[in-house]
C-alpha cells in the first residue's frame, strides 16, 4: 500500500476521550480492546489515469472499548464502515490514524512479528461460510492449519484429538473431521469457521455479519452457540451486524455507525429502549416486527433517501441530509459524540429522549 499522498484535513473534532467511553462495567480493569479515534481511508482512483483523485474515509474517527468477556454490537447499514473497523483492528487494512490497544499493546505501530503473536488472541468469523473455507482442505486441515503457524498452542501429536474436541464444542460430529466443506450445510460450515476461530484460544472474536447469510432457523442455533462459547470460554465479541434484533440479542453494549462515525453508543438496554439519536430512532422504527399487532399503534419513522456515498459525505453531521430534525447548525458544526440528556453518548445537536414513545 503506498502512503496516501492526498493532503488530509485535520481529523474531526473529538471530545474528551473519557466522555466517549461508556461507564466501565468492571471498574478499574483495563479493557481488552480499546479503539480511539480510528480512521481508515481508501484512495479513490480515477478509472482513466489511475491517479489518486481523492479518498474515501470509510472510518472517520471511531472510539470504543470492549472489556474482557464483553460483547460490543456494532450496527450500521451498508457503507457505515463497520466492516472496515473490524478489518483494521485485525490488520487487514491499515489505520490512517488513531489507536487500537489490545491487551495493553498498540496494534497500529506493532512490528509484523509481534502482530503475529497478538493475532492469536484476536480471531475473526466471516460472513460467507462458503467463501471463507478452503474447498480443497478437509475440516481437520482447516482447523489445524493455525497450529502450524503457532506450534506452541497444540503439539502435533495432539492435533487430531484437539480437532475432535473443537468439532464437538461447536456442535458438529467429530467423525466428520475428514470431510470437505462442500459436504456440510451453510450453518454447519459457519460452525467450522467458528471452530477455526477458536483453535488458537483467542480472547476476542470478531464476528463480521457471522449469522447474516444463514436461514433463520439455523441462525438461531449459531447465536445460541456463540452465547454458550462466551459463557464457557470467557470470550469477548465484537459483533458486527446490520440486523438490530440479532445485535440486541447478543450484545452488552451497542454502537451505531453511520457513514464512518459512531452516532450513538449505550448499553443494549438503554440503546433499544431510549434511543436519543434520530438515526437510531429511525433504524429501530424500521426493524420489521413479527407481531406488530401486539404493540400499541405507533407512527413509523420512515426516513427518505439512501445512505449518501462515503466518497462524498455531507459536511459536519453526516446524517443531516436524511434527518427530519436538521437545522442550519447541523451543516455548520459537527455534533460531538458525548453524553447528552444525562443518559448516554450520542452525536446529535437535537438528541431527544422519546422515553419509550417509539418502543
Amino acid at each position: 500500500m503506498p502512503p496516501n499522498p492526498t493532503p488530509t484535513a485535520p481529523s474531526a473534532p473529538v471530545s474528551s476521550i473519557s466522555s466517549l467511553i461508556p461507564p466501565a462495567e468492571s471498574a478499574g480493569a483495563a479493557p481488552l480492546l480499546s479503539v480511539r479515534d480510528l480512521q481508515t481511508s481508501f484512495p479513490l482512483r480515477s478509472a482513466l489515469l489511475r491517479r489518486v483523485v481523492g479518498e474515501i474515509q470509510a472510518v472517520a474517527g471511531v472510539s470504543f472499548d470492549i472489556p474482557a468477556g464483553g460483547t460490543l454490537g456494532l450496527v450500521g447499514e451498508s457503507g457505515s464502515g463497520k466492516s472496515t473497523v473490524a478489518r483494521t483492528i485485525i490488520g487487514l487494512e491499515k489505520a490512517r490514524s488513531g489507536s487500537i490497544v489490545f491487551e495493553g499493546e498498540e496494534l497500529t505501530s506493532l512490528p509484523k512479528a509481534s502482530m503475529r503473536r497478538v493475532r492469536r488472541q484476536l480471531q475473526m468469523i466471516f460472513q460467507d461460510p462458503y467463501a471463507s473455507l478452503n474447498p480443497r482442505a478437509t475440516v481437520e486441515q482447516i482447523i489445524s492449519e493455525a497450529w502450524e503457524i503457532h506450534p506452541d498452542v497444540v503439539p502435533r501429536n495432539r492435533h487430531r484429538a484437539e480437532v475432535r474436541d473443537l468439532l464437538e464444542r461447536v456442535g458438529l460430529n467429530p467423525d466428520h473431521a475428514k470431510r470437505y466443506p462442500h459436504q456440510f450445510s451453510g450453518g454447519q460450515r459457519q460452525r467450522i469457521g467458528i471452530a477455526r476461530a477458536l483453535a488458537l484460544r483467542p480472547k476476542l472474536v470478531i464476528c463480521d455479519e457471522a449469522v447474516s447469510a444463514l436461514d433463520v432457523s439455523v441462525q438461531a442455533q449459531v447465536l445460541n452457540l456463540l452465547a454458550d462459547l462466551r459463557r464457557d470460554l470467557g470470550l469477548a465479541y465484537l459483533f458486527i451486524a446490520h440486523d438490530l434484533s440479532v445485535v440486541r440479542h447478543i450484545s452488552d453494549q451497542v454502537a451505531v455507525m453511520y457513514l464512518g462515525r459512531v452516532v450513538e453508543t449505550a448499553t443494549q438496554d438503554e440503546l433499544f429502549q431510549r434511543p436519543l439519536h434520530p438515526y437510531t430512532q429511525a433504524l429501530l422504527s424500521a426493524v420489521p416486527d413479527p407481531k406488530p399487532w401486539t404493540k400499541p399503534e405507533r407512527e413509523p419513522i420512515i426516513i427518505g433517501g439512501d445512505v449518501p456515498s462515503p466518497a462524498d459525505p455531507p459536511s459536519c453531521c453526516r446524517f443531516r441530509t436524511r434527518c427530519w430534525k436538521a437545522e442550519d447548525i447541523c451543516a455548520e458544526q459537527e455534533p460531538v459524540l458525548e453524553t447528552r440528556l444525562d443518559r448516554h453518548p450520542t452525536a446529535c445537536h437535537f438528541a431527544t429522549d422519546l422515553a419509550g414513545a417509539t418502543r
Binding site: 447499514e77 433463520v216 432457523s217 447465536l223 424500521a286
Partner: protein
C-alpha cells in the same frame, strides 16, 4: 372473496447432476382479488420456484412443471397459449436484484416507457410522459431529471422503485414481489414495503410477497402461505399463523427470531438443518427435526387440513397439530 389465482398440486422438477430434484412438491394455495399474501419459506423451500412457475419462467431445460395446475381468473396458465397477454400485463413481477433485472445500456425512462410502446402502442413522447408519471408515483425524487439516467446511476432502493414502476406500468391485477427488500438496508426496506402497501391499496391489486423474513410482511400481509421442502406446511390469516402456529416448523421459526423488545431469552431454534432436496426424508419432510414426530410421521405425508381451532382457513399439514397448539409459547 373469490380467488383470482389458484395453484393446485403444483409440482416442479429440476434435473441436476445429482438426480431429479422436486423443488415444488404438490403445493396448493389461492390468492383472492385485492389480497396480500405472504409466501414464506427458507432457502430451498420452493417459494421462488412457485413464482417462476406462475410467471412461466422456470429455468429451461433443467426445470419443468411436472404436474398440477395454475389458474388465473379462470384461465389455465399452464396450457401453452392460454396465458398469452396475461403475464407481464395482468400478472407482473418484481425481483430481488434490481440491477441484474434492468438493462444496463438503456436509460431508465426508456426502459419504463418501453412497456407502453410495446403493449399499448404509445408514441415515444407518450411513453416518456407515462414513464415520468410512474417514476413520480413510486417516489423517485427529481423524476424528470432522472428519466435519462442509466440504472447504475441509481441506488439500490431507487432501482427497486424503478422495477416497481415497470411492473405497475400496465396496471396489473396481481403483483408478485420476490424478496423485494432482501438486498436493501433496513431503512430503505421500510420505504419499499411502505410503497408496496400503498400501491396495493391504491390499485386494489393482489400482492404476493415472497420472503424468508417473518417480520417484514407482518405489517402488510393478510394471509400467510408457509412452505417447507417444496410443500405448503401451514396457511391462514397471518395473525392466527404467527400467534397460534399449528405446524411445528412455524412454531420453530417463531422461536428462532430474536425480537427487538421483550426478554432476551435463549432462542429456541429448530434442531438440525433444512433437508437435502435430493434425498428428502420419507413421510413428513420435517419429521427428523420435529419434537412431535412419531412412527406415523416417518411413513405418511400429512396433507393440509383445518386445525381443531377456528378459523377453518387456518390449516396445517401436520399429524399432531394439537401438541403444537397446546405448546404455544
Amino acid at each position: 372473496m373469490t380467488a383470482l389465482m389458484r395453484v393446485r398440486e403444483l409440482r416442479v422438477e429440476f434435473d441436476t447432476s445429482g438426480g431429479v430434484v422436486t423443488a415444488v412438491d404438490g403445493a396448493s394455495f389461492e390468492v383472492a382479488a385485492g389480497e396480500t399474501v405472504a409466501l414464506l419459506g427458507e432457502s430451498g423451500s420452493g417459494k421462488s420456484v412457485t413464482a417462476q412457475a406462475v410467471m412461466g419462467i422456470v429455468p429451461k431445460p433443467a426445470g419443468r412443471i411436472a404436474g398440477g395446475s395454475i389458474t388465473y381468473d379462470g384461465r389455465d396458465l399452464l396450457t401453452p397459449g392460454a396465458a398469452k397477454g396475461l403475464r407481464g400485463r395482468e400478472i407482473a413481477m418484481v425481483f430481488q436484484d434490481p440491477l441484474s433485472s434492468l438493462n444496463p445500456v438503456f436509460r431508465v425512462g426508456a426502459q419504463i416507457g418501453e412497456m407502453f410502446r410495446r403493449h399499448r402502442g404509445a408514441s415515444r413522447r407518450e411513453a416518456r410522459a407515462a414513464a415520468l408519471e410512474l417514476m413520480k408515483r413510486v417516489g423517485i425524487p427529481a423524476a424528470s431529471k432522472r428519466l435519462d439516467d442509466y440504472p447504475h446511476q441509481f441506488s439500490g432502493g431507487m432501482r427497486q422503485r424503478v422495477m416497481i414502476a415497470m411492473a405497475l406500468a400496465l396496471s396489473p391485477r396481481l403483483l408478485i414481489a420476490d424478496e423485494p427488500t432482501t438486498a436493501l438496508d433496513v431503512t430503505v426496506q421500510a420505504q419499499i414495503m411502505d410503497l408496496l402497501a400503498r400501491l396495493q391499496a391504491e390499485e386494489g391489486m393482489s400482492l404476493v410477497l415472497i420472503t424468508h423474513d417473518l417480520g417484514v410482511v407482518a405489517d402488510v400481509a393478510d394471509r400467510v402461505v408457509l412452505m417447507y421442502a417444496g410443500r405448503v406446511v401451514e396457511t391462514g390469516p397471518i395473525r392466527e399463523v404467527y400467534e397460534h402456529s399449528g405446524h411445528p416448523y412455524t412454531a420453530g421459526l417463531m422461536g428462532s427470531v430474536p425480537v427487538l423488545d421483550g426478554a432476551r431469552d435463549r432462542l429456541t431454534p429448530i434442531q438440525g438443518s433444512p433437508p437435502d432436496l435430493l434425498s428428502l426424508p420419507t413421510g413428513c419432510s420435517f419429521h427428523p427435526r420435529c419434537h412431535y414426530a412419531d412412527p406415523l410421521c416417518t411413513t405418511d405425508q400429512p396433507n393440509l387440513r383445518p386445525l381443531p381451532t377456528p378459523p377453518p382457513q387456518h390449516q396445517a399439514a401436520c399429524h399432531h397439530p394439537e401438541g403444537v397448539l397446546n405448546h404455544a409459547p
